[in-house]
């Protein structure tokens, strides 16, 4: 796929060599060799930099470049968009959706994040759970949000703080957690109370202030609750906080939808650019390039896989339970190697892999051809068949 696109872009560069727009095509061509670029965008105050920093240190995402608040013309392959609230108004203020037909068909490049999830519901202790439910509901039901590859509630500040937990901080929190809850409660009522000079114990106001600034009042409260309920070491607490903050889910989504599809997304960026140039500057003979773009759009299977994964996970298909899990796996949500798609171990005998693949093709082809199912379902099954066939092709 990348080879095709590279050829297409090189030809386009040659075709438009005397146009001022050629530099944008060259940039896209060169970018095919670079790591995937993911932009983190959002209104001021949504915590873009904090989340970028929190994501930046994750090993699973080391192959991609995160760009904090990319300026408008910058080249990015995918976007993590931060929202303060899941309000339609907030989403409506987005920059205009992708303009070209191809870009719209293959709009698999956005993940929405309900940032500052810890502020949901007046910062009660179940705020993160509520936020998670809200995000999930919006993704499943609200057509404004369902176009994204995922809507994920993340407490960015908490996640960032929890990833870089120091032993001192853990000791401090553990000491606070040791204080009886009723006694502590009044000091956890507000930031002011927490940093009040009347706070019992020897910890200085400045230390307490830095603690609450790093984790947020909600983070402090959650950490104390977690320590009391068994997260009794720094690592345990850190892991639990990261998990609850939603950072893990965001990481998995970015890894599965973006990092694993880096080649396809970069190719998409290049083709979208080319399409824009073709549309804004048509020339005699450019229709041949257009035809090649169309052919690319028609054959690019990755985008259909990504779209379908999002639809299955968002509950917008008739699939559920075991078949849904298998479909998502075959579509490559857990990794795009043959073994990962078929849910087999890495060292599996190729013959066994082939047999499993053939079995999957058979079953899903059956699904795709059942006349009693609505067209949309059969079309979805067809996409799964195509993915499974792709696995077979590797061993054929």
């Amino acid at each position: 796929m990348t080879e095709d696109v590279r050829g297409l872009l090189a030809d386009a560069c040659a075709f438009y060599r005397d146009s001022p727009r050629v530099s944008s095509l060259r940039e896209a061509l060169e970018h095919l060799e670079e790591p995937l670029r993911v932009g983190v965008t959002g209104a001021p105050g949504t915590g873009k930099s904090t989340l970028t920093a929190a994501l930046g240190e994750i090993r699973a995402l080391r192959d991609l470049t995160l760009v904090d608040d990319p300026p408008a013309p910058a080249l990015t392959d995918a976007t993590v968009r931060l929202l303060r609230h899941l309000e339609p108004d907030e989403l409506a203020s987005a920059p205009a959706a992708a303009s070209s037909a191809f870009a719209r068909q293959t709009a698999v490049d956005t993940v929405l994040v309900l940032a500052r999830a810890d502020e949901t519901g007046a910062g009660r202790i179940d705020a993160l759970l509520t936020a998670k439910q809200l995000a999930r509901r919006a993704w499943r039901q609200d057509p404004l949000f369902s176009g994204a590859q995922g809507v994920i509630a993340v407490a960015g500040q908490l996640a960032y703080g929890a990833r870089a937990f120091t032993e001192d901080e853990f000791e401090l929190l553990a000491a606070f957690a040791a204080v009886p809850r009723e006694e502590m409660e009044r000091y956890l009522l507000s930031v002011d109370a927490f940093t009040d000079p009347a706070f019992p114990g020897p910890v200085s106001v400045d230390t307490r202030r830095s603690l609450v600034t790093r984790f947020g009042l909600f983070g402090v409260k959650l950490a104390l609750t977690l320590i009391r309920t068994g997260s009794d070491s720094r690592v345990k607490l850190s892991t639990e906080l990261v998990r609850r903050s939603g950072l893990g889910e965001l990481r998995d989504t970015i890894a599965g939808c973006f990092a694993a599809r880096a080649e396809a997304l970069k190719a998409r960026t290049a083709v979208v650019r080319l399409e824009t140039v073709l549309r804004t500057e048509p020339r005699p003979g450019s229709d041949r390039l257009e035809a090649r773009v169309e052919r690319f759009a028609a054959t690019a299977h990755d985008f259909r896989e990504l779209r379908l994964i999002a639809d299955i996970r968002g509950g917008r298909t008739a699939l559920s339970g075991e078949p849904a899990d298998e479909a998502v796996r075959l579509l490559g949500a857990h990794g795009t190697t043959a073994e990962e798609r078929l849910g087999l171990d890495i060292e599996t005998d190729p013959r066994e892999i082939y047999a499993a693949g053939a079995d999957a093709v058979m079953r899903w082809r059956h699904e795709a051809e059942r006349p009693d199912r609505p067209l949309a379902e059969r079309a979805a099954a067809q996409v799964v068949v195509r993915s499974a066939e792709g696995v077979l092709a590797l061993y054929g």
């Binding site: 309000e87 949901t120 007046a122 910062g123 809200l134 009044r186 507000s190 109370a193």
Partner: protein
């Protein structure tokens, strides 16, 4: 405070101004503003209404609940009503849904949220809630509004509509971020309609840097010229304090200040408030109208400025162009016609000259008596041909001239009818036969006899000397020779005479024809000239007329614009004076103690 007195003095004044403003709003098609002003005017006296306004997720519901210490408003993820909720005093908690047609449906307070969710949106006008709270006992009404959002949404319109009835407004913004541009704009709008505004900075319990945010918000408000205090509050702390009855904690929640601000609104003499709010509303409405009018005036001004000059310039250019064209085609016509005159005459002359040469040649050699029968028809034919050729040449040239003049005038105009009438060649009279006669026998005999007489006599006398008789063979022979010679001589002379006569006749005929036709031709050419001149002069005049009319219209249009401009200016002035008078009223009412400067 001098409530009653000031009412007597100011009420008629502000009512009058308000009525005038309503009329102005209606004249300018702003029924919405008129509606707002009417609601100001017709509001039943007594009772202070405080609206709570803010963007979504700013903690508005929590704030209202914390003010009242009662769970009146939906908070968190629960759906918030899309209609205003009016919260007033009652002994027992009550809740009433008021429908579009003012039908009232009492519902249990605890089921209010569920009931609201069950109603289709748009079926309600407002919700009235009664709570037994001291704060509200003096007739104070708190109005919770739907969250402000998309400026075009009906929800936003409903929220802003509440401003028309409000005496004071609590704006809600949370302390996690400073005010956004939209929030500042909202504050500005609110402040132009309502004299008393406070910004409640919520969620200070979770925002570590709320003090800095409060400072920034204060700065932003004063920078935008919005006179509104900023009160940081925390509903969470307030509720915790209420639970434990902890006065100190309550003080930290920031709510006591907010409550005292609200109470202060309630203690203002309502008449003052009404005067001030009326004045403000008039000012706000007048300002909005003036802004719209200024926009229109600007548009009109631009029209006048740009369009008129360009149009006039364009028309001036057209007139110049026409003038230039006129000179061009007139010169061209005169030159071409003169050329044609001389060319046609030369052509005809040349042709006739050739004919004359042929005549000379013919009669130098030929005997008219013998050749005239052939010569006459030839001459007629040749002459007709010459004339016709000349005529068609002239007519072609005339056509060409017409084209040339037309193109000098402008391609788009049509040509006059130019076809010349027939050449007139058929009118040429045939050449008359000259009076020439042949040398007849009688003449010859007589001439011969006359010549022989001399010969006979001469030789007879000579021979008579030689003794011969006078009439002898020799003299007779000489006589015969003499006779022959005389006849021959006479015959040559006669021929010459005939030739001369024939030549003269033919030449005179040719001259006649030439004269007649050169005149005819000149006349035709003049006719063409006249026709072309008349045609294009008429066209030019028409064009000039058209341009003049255009110019008049442009000038008339600008006069019309000028009039419109004057009307707009007068309207703006009128509204400005209304604005001014309302301002004076506000100041008058503002002299009352504890009144904030308007």
């Amino acid at each position: 405070m001098h409530g009653g007195h000031s009412f007597d003095v100011t009420a008629p004044a502000w009512l009058e101004v308000l009525d005038e403003a309503v009329a102005a709003c209606r004249t300018h098609g702003r029924e919405d503003l008129a509606q707002r002003l009417r609601r100001r005017r017709d509001r039943p006296p007594g009772g202070v209404r405080i609206a709570v306004l803010g963007f979504p997720k700013q903690g508005k519901g929590y704030l209202v609940n914390a003010v009242l210490n009662a769970p009146v408003c939906a908070v968190g993820d629960a759906p918030t009503p899309a209609v205003p909720v009016e919260i007033g005093f009652s002994d027992q908690p009550t809740a009433t849904l008021v429908g579009r047609a003012d039908e009232r449906v009492p519902v249990p307070v605890e089921r209010l949220t569920g009931e609201l969710g069950a109603r289709p949106s748009g079926s309600l006008r407002r919700v009235e809630v009664g709570v037994p709270r001291e704060l509200l006992s003096a007739g104070l009404l708190l109005v919770d509004t739907p969250a402000i959002g998309d400026p075009r949404s009906p929800r936003t319109a409903t929220a802003l509509d509440v401003l028309a009835d409000s005496d004071a407004v609590v704006l809600v913004s949370d302390a996690t971020t400073p005010l956004g541009p939209a929030e500042v704009a909202l504050a500005h709008h609110v402040r132009t309609w309502v004299p008393h505004v406070v910004l409640a900075l919520t969620k200070i319990d979770v925002a570590p840097s709320w003090r800095a945010v409060a400072e920034r918000d204060r700065g932003m408000l004063s920078e935008a010229g919005i006179d509104a205090p900023v009160l940081p509050v925390s509903a969470t702390v307030r509720l915790a304090a209420a639970k434990t009855g902890d006065q100190e904690l309550n003080a930290r929640s920031g709510f006591p200040q907010l409550l005292s601000w609200i109470a202060e609104q309630a203690t203002r003499p309502p008449e003052h408030t009404r005067a001030v709010t009326a004045a403000m509303s008039v000012r706000a409405a007048a300002a909005e109208l003036v802004e719209a009018l200024r926009g229109r005036a600007e548009v009109v001004g631009q029209d006048a400025g740009v369009d008129q000059t360009t149009l006039l310039q364009r028309s001036q250019r057209k007139a110049d162009e026409l003038r230039k064209r006129n000179t061009r085609w007139q010169n061209l016509l005169a030159d071409e016609i003169a050329d044609l005159q001389s060319d046609a005459e030369y052509d005809l002359r040349e042709r006739t000259r050739k004919i004359v040469e042929t005549i000379d040649e013919t009669f130098d050699r030929g005997d008219p008596v013998k050749v005239w029968d052939q010569f006459g028809p030839w001459l007629d034919k040749t002459l007709t041909e010459a004339v016709e050729t000349n005529y068609s040449f002239t007519s072609d040239r005339a056509e060409w001239i017409a084209q040339a003049v037309a193109s000098a005038f402008g391609e788009q105009y049509d040509l006059p009818q130019l076809s010349l009438s027939g050449s007139g060649a058929e009118l040429i009279a045939d050449v008359r036969r000259p009076r020439v006669e042949g040398f007849k026998i009688g003449h010859k005999a007589f001439t011969g006899l006359r010549g022989s007489y001399g010969g006979v006599l001469m030789f007879g006398l000579v021979t008579s000397l030689a003794g011969m008789p006078l009439i002898n063979p020799i003299s007779l022979g000489a006589g015969a020779a003499f006779a022959a010679k005389t006849i021959s001589d006479e015959s040559g002379m006669r021929l010459q005479r005939r030739q001369a006569v024939a030549k003269m006749t033919a030449q005179r005929h040719v001259d006649d024809v030439f004269l007649r036709f050169s005149k005819e031709c000149r006349d035709a050419i003049r006719g063409v000239q006249r026709r072309l001149r008349d045609h294009f002069t008429m066209l030019a005049e028409e064009l000039a007329d058209q341009l003049a009319r255009e110019r008049e219209m442009i000038i008339a249009g600008s006069a019309e614009r000028e009039r419109r401009m004057v009307r707009l200016r007068r309207e703006i002035d009128r509204l400005a004076s209304l604005h001014q008078r309302a301002g004076e009223l506000g100041v008058l009412a503002g002299r009352a103690p504890r009144e904030l400067p308007a």
